[in-house]
Every structure is written in structure tokens, then in C-alpha cells.
């Protein structure tokens, strides 16, 4: 390698080529990074610009890439076209409830699967993982009938039951792998000192895996916040509809000759803000939580 380099540098003494040889890889890395920034960034830029462009300016040919007079008017009109703040509250209840229930249930199950040796624990774990493959929409009909029978349609708790169950397998899997990393001696010591299992869980295990619980809470919050199918089918009144359903309702708004892209963009921006905040503060946790599921 070294010999080759010397040989090459004798051949090409052009300063640009020398510079490229030393920094070519870095240059390539930054070029790739720039492409990534553009590919990911442009759609967000365009959605944001559309949300602050007055609608008469938005629907013109060729399209404008920056408004001549930016305005928040689209946001105001959007929040009148649909009961925005009710939907926002519903989304929050739905996402917090689903992630709370799923993390609590998974923490208990995760402890059982990671710490207690009992016959059938592997089968339960495998069945749980395999059940992810069952498409939620394929079994929607009986789910809908059951919800009708028990009066669970248009209820927050009904939606939370469905959504938390959907994210359970991944949450359990991740928490099992977290708990297995925590040394078991502290729990044993606590048990010998006469603590009950519940005390061990609440005072030893859960505090130790608090970062993991937090991580799964954030990830499940994001997944629930983004969910469309369950609220679309099981929330039929404004009291339970979420923002994703509201966005679809806005699509059908016929106040303009085309779809109301101005209002839809405005609503999209507001719906992304909580997600972007979570990424800003919890990116490390999210990355480690998602990656852990993959390695297993």
C-alpha cells in the first residue's frame, strides 16, 4: 500500500490530485451526506413553504418555491375546517395511553420472560414475536363486531387496547433484552432480605431499566401518534378522532377547486412538531431502542 502510494505520487504531481488522494474519501462522504440532506430535506421544505403560502399563490403554474408574502392564514383556516384542538387532544390521549399501557404490560412480561425459568417461556416468546406478522386489517371485521357488541367504538380506552396490543411484541422483545443485561444479584439480595416480588420489581428492577422504559415509551408514542387505520375505523365521532383522521377529512374538504393543499400542509406541520421535539431530545434513546430489536 505504502509503496504504491509513493509510486502514484511520483506519477501525478498535480496538486489537485495530491489533495484528492488525501481528502478524496472525506469529500465523497460529505457529498453523500449532502445528497442525504437534500433527499430528506426537500419534502419537508416544500410542505413547510406550502403551509405559509397564501392559497391564491400556491395554486399557480409554475409553482412558487418561496411565498412573496408569508402568512399563517392557512393554519387559522385549517383549525376552523376541522375541530383541530379536539383532535390534537385525542391524539395525545391515544398516544400517551397506548404507550403507557404497552410499556407497563411489557415491563411485567419482560421480567417474567427474562428472569423466571419456566416451561413454555420460549414458546410464549416465539408466539409473541410471530404474532407481529398477522396483519391488523385482515382480522378487522370480527374486531369491529366485538367492539360494537361491547360498546367500545368511539371510546378512548377501546382504541388504546387495540393500539397498545399492536406494539406489545416489539416492546416485550426489547425490554427482555434490556433486563437480561441487568445483573441479577441485586434482585436476589433483595429477595433474601425479605422483599416481595412486587417490591423487587418496583424498587430494584424498574428503576434500573428506567432508560429502557422511557425509550420504549417514546418509540410507542411515535408509532401511536402516526397510526391511521385503528382511529379511522374505530373512531367515528369528533370526541375520539385523531389528527391523522382529521388530515384525511381535510382531504375531502371541497372549499377549493383542487384539494386544500394549503390547509393540509399546515396541519401536517403542526402534527410533525411533537415528533420532531421527541427526536431532538430522545434521538440516542430511539436509535438504541430500535437497533436492539434488530440485533436479537
Amino acid at each position: 500500500m505504502a509503496v504504491q502510494t509513493v509510486h502514484n505520487s511520483v506519477q501525478n504531481s498535480n496538486p489537485l490530485q495530491i489533495w484528492l488522494r488525501h481528502h478524496g474519501e472525506t469529500l465523497l462522504t460529505y457529498a453523500a451526506f449532502a445528497v442525504m440532506v437534500l433527499v430528506i430535506g426537500i419534502p419537508f421544505y416544500y410542505i413547510f413553504v406550502s403551509s405559509i403560502t397564501p392559497s391564491n399563490e400556491l395554486f399557480q403554474i409554475p409553482p412558487s418555491y418561496w411565498p412573496s408574502s408569508p402568512t399563517f392564514d392557512n393554519y387559522a383556516r385549517m383549525s376552523e375546517a376541522v375541530p383541530y384542538f379536539t383532535y390534537f387532544r385525542n391524539s395525545l390521549i391515544f398516544a400517551v395511553g397506548s404507550s403507557g399501557v404497552s410499556v407497563a404490560a411489557s415491563a411485567l412480561a419482560g421480567y417474567a420472560l427474562a428472569r423466571i425459568k419456566f416451561p413454555g417461556s420460549n414458546i410464549i416468546f416465539m408466539a409473541l414475536i410471530l404474532s407481529v406478522a398477522l396483519p391488523q386489517i385482515a382480522v378487522l371485521v370480527p374486531m369491529f363486531q366485538t367492539f360494537q357488541t361491547f360498546g367500545l367504538i368511539n371510546t378512548h380506552h377501546g382504541l388504546i387496547v387495540l393500539m397498545s396490543s399492536l406494539v406489545l411484541p416489539f416492546t416485550v422483545m426489547t425490554l427482555v433484552s434490556f433486563i437480561q443485561q441487568v445483573p441479577g444479584e441485586i434482585e436476589e439480595a433483595a429477595l433474601i432480605d425479605g422483599a416481595t416480588t412486587l417490591q423487587v420489581l418496583s424498587r430494584v428492577v424498574f428503576p434500573l431499566i428506567r432508560p429502557a422504559l422511557m425509550t420504549m415509551f417514546i418509540i410507542n408514542f411515535i408509532i401511536s401518534w402516526n397510526e391511521l387505520l385503528y382511529p379511522l375505523v374505530f373512531a367515528q365521532r369528533a370526541t375520539t378522532k385523531t389528527l391523522s383522521v382529521g388530515l384525511m377529512e381535510l382531504t375531502a374538504d371541497s372549499s377549493t377547486f383542487t384539494r386544500p393543499w394549503d390547509m393540509m400542509s399546515a396541519m401536517s406541520v403542526t402534527m410533525m412538531i411533537p415528533i420532531l421535539l421527541l427526536i431532538l431530545f430522545g434521538q440516542r434513546m430511539i436509535i438504541s431502542g430500535l437497533a436492539r430489536g434488530a440485533i436479537k
Binding site: 500500500m1 474519501e25 472525506t26 462522504t29 460529505y30 453523500a32 451526506f33 442525504m36 433527499v39 430528506i40 430535506g41 419534502p43 416544500y46 410542505i47 395554486f59 409553482p63 404490560a105 411485567l108 412480561a109 421480567y111 417474567a112 423466571i116 419456566f118 417461556s121 410464549i124 406478522a133 398477522l134 386489517i137 385482515a138 382480522v139 378487522l140 371485521v141 370480527p142 374486531m143 363486531q145 366485538t146 387496547v161 397498545s164 396490543s165 429477595l191 433474601i192 425479605g194 416480588t197 411515535i222 402516526n226 391511521l228 382531504t251 383542487t258 384539494r259 393540509m264 400542509s265 401536517s268 402534527m271 427526536i279 431532538l280 434521538q283 436509535i287 437497533a291 434488530a294 440485533i295
Partner: protein, 309 residues
Amino acid sequence: MATTSTATRPQPAARGFRLSFAQRRYLLAIALLMPVILLRLFTTVYPFIQTAYLSTQKYNPAFPPQKFVGLGNFERIAGDLVVQSSIEFTLIFVFVSTFFQIFIGLAVAHLLNAPFRLRGLARTLNLIPWAIPMVIAAIGFRWMFDDQFGMIPDILRRVFGVEARWLIDPYNARLAIVLVNIWKSTPFVALLLLAGMQGISHDLYEAARVDGATRWRMLRFITIPMLLPIITSVSMFMLVWQLAVFDLPYAMTGGGPGFATTVIAQKIYLEINALNFGFAAAIGIVLIAIVAIIGGIGLYIYRRVEVSQ
């Protein structure tokens, strides 16, 4: 719960009925697992059995009575052009998307693993497409692809001189949906592959460097082979998971033009809205069968890859 926690105390009070330590631990495990098991039974096993039953029924609540039709619904599926087209598009969607997600995902993971100053920023940026709602990606791109006012046709026209109608032409509409899906989910795949790359020992690369291996050969003979199990499992997961796609085509094209971008899930949704519950259940069973077949093949390949490592 109370009994099991009492039972784990070191010296339980002598009673007539006592459980062995193993039995007590077993009961405790079951009690802790109960919420998860009940929730999963309620939302998967029970509705699955009901769906299998309903698929043999002609049942529309608006047009009673319900009656047994055996495989009648499946015969109808075999002759239904929309269902056939939805199966065809779903398979195209899933396989093309997964192929490019893995391919581009490897490149992105490589970038996110490279030592450069903005790496942290790149990793954060990579999370964003995964984390935003699919509906927003679908609607945002639907707007950007708009044949009249959209930015993508405008740029293609002005910069490359290409005239393309995206959402009116069935092939282009399918292409557009697959592109958006690749944009949305490649970052997630890249993240998982990155985790795999970080698990590869540096010694391997050191040894290769000493032997004078080029970057490309290291990628070809170390990174890819070492990542093969994770590439297989991620591919399998993406294939199976994306077979159930609903929100992207629903929010982006509504299944159109015609039925060109209708996926199986949306066909089920349409039948449910039309209250054809028996027929919808039968399509659901077909979807589950496709998932089982592809998942089974994937699992088989994964086992072989894992063994050969």
C-alpha cells in the same frame, strides 16, 4: 398476585396447602405475563378464528340473513379482477420496495458508520422520515407529484425536459407510491443495518488493511458476508410487514387511477365499508396466507443463512 408475592418470602407460614418453589415461580410468571397474553389473544387469536369462520359465510348486516357458502367467497375472489390486481400490486410494491430499501439502506448505513464530523447530525436526520406519520409523507408527496401544480413535474420539466404525468398514468402512479415508500422506510432499514455494522469486529478490517485490501473488497468480503444474517432478517421483516400496507396508498392515491394502486388491505377496507363482511374476511384470509407463505420461505432462508455462518 397477593398470594404469589407472599409465597416468595423465605419462610412461608406453614399451611395445609403449600406449593413448591418451582410452582410458585411458575404461577408468578403466568401472572406477570397475563396482561400481555390477554391483550394479544383478544386482538389476534380470537379475531383470527372469527375471520376464518366469517370467510365461509355470506354475511352483510344490511342484507340478512347470514348463510353458509363454504368456499363461495374464495371462488368469488378467484374471479374478482380488483382483488387479483390488488394482490399483484401488493407483491410488486413489497418486493421492489424491500429490494431498494436494503440496497440504499446499506449505502446509508455505510455513510452513518463513516467517521466524519457531522455523523451525529446525519444519524438524527436519518430518524426523521421514519418518525413522521406515513399519512404526512403520502399527502406531502401527493402534493409534490401533483400533475398541475406539483413541484416534481415542474423540476423534471424545467431541468431535465421530461414530461411525465404521475398520478393519472397507472404505471407512474405505482412507481410514485413505491418511491415514496422507499423514501419513508429506507432510514429505518439503514438504522438496523448500522447496528449490525457496529457489531463487526474492527480486527477484521485491520487484518484486511494490513493485507492491502481496498475499501471495495472490504465491503464485499467482510461487511456484506458478516451482515448477511441481519440483511436476511430485516428483508424478511420488511417483506412481511409491508404486505399489510394500508395508509400510504390510501392517503396518497386512494387506490387510483382506477384500481392501479389498490393494495389488498385497501380492498379489504372497501369491502368492510360496503358491509360485505364475509367477503372482506375471505380476502383477509388470503392476505394472511400470503404473509404465511412469504414469511415461511423467509424463515427457511434465514435458518440456512444462520447455520452457514
